[in-house]
Symmetry: C2
Amino acid sequence: MDLFRSYLHQQRLPLTRQREVIAMGLFESGEQLSVDDLADLLRGRGEHVGKATIYRTLSLLVQAELARELDFGEGFKRYELQAGEARHDHFICTSCGQVTRFVRSVVDEFQATIAAELGYTVQSRRLEIYGLCSECRAAVERASSAGAVTTGEAASSGQVRGEGG
Amino acid sequence: MDLFRSYLHQQRLPLTRQREVIAMGLFESGEQLSVDDLADLLRGRGEHVGKATIYRTLSLLVQAELARELDFGEGFKRYELQAGEARHDHFICTSCGQVTRFVRSVVDEFQATIAAELGYTVQSRRLEIYGLCSECRAAVERASSAGAVTTGEAASSGQVRGEGG
DNA sequence: GTCGGTGCAAAACGTTTGCACCTCG
DNA sequence: CGAGGTGCAAACGTTTTGCACCGAC
């Protein structure tokens, strides 16, 4: 939040109430929110903010490198704060939509290595691994031995799990 | 191409002229094409194919695991064939849009490891590293020592480089 | 007071779908 | 011959934009 404040100040841009509540909402939720999620969340707090403003503010947060844009193939984008915290990646269950976030330094190391080899300079990355979570795999196995197959819908609530450990 | 043919046969779906030219176009180009790119390419060959058909065929190719859907943040999707070849990833220059494809087994290994740790089963992945290619970095450095900064436009032609080696 | 921000509604964009006709097998 | 595919255009959902008014500094 302070980082956003100083980014705006440095860019000679005003900090408005809307910008504040949008950043706070994203920050406090700690989850990957779509623009609609964010609009609903703020409305629930009695803060009415137009979607255009949410898009514009998120785009600022991304420029400031305080937020990340994510695409889990749902047809719209999600955003999450990445304020200073370690760079992390995602595992997405293609059956139930569950997102598990993980952090592994080996990914950062690999990224640095390959960039050096290719002569690139890294700015950011996106690593998403798609597959089945343990519950869905169990469900699929159960179903295939029975005969029926149930393919779950992607979750719409943006539920996230951190790593168990 | 033969793989597509047998996939269709196995699914009891007909192989139409359109499906053939779409798959051939994607195959021969070897690049990451958008639906528009593909429509243009085919039109240039005198093959008129509707975009709806292209979308429907690409979706078949993705189901058959013969193609991959890619998103470089341009606002639309790109597709590329991945017929049997090793799984590869991409480095995208945020300044000129150049895409460099690379293959590193360490990524496959990491993917298997993290999946095992989290109890997931891997189906696919997307690893995209964003940054500046060596030319653009040089350009930025030159510009910043001069005063003006030129930010190039993302290339629209879907140019791809393999690794220089 | 000025520059930029905000909200709304309309536009723009990529993608999907309904439907009449056509084609593969 | 029938199941399915195709093309068009209209529909869809997300994101962007134009504009009149408002608020930060």
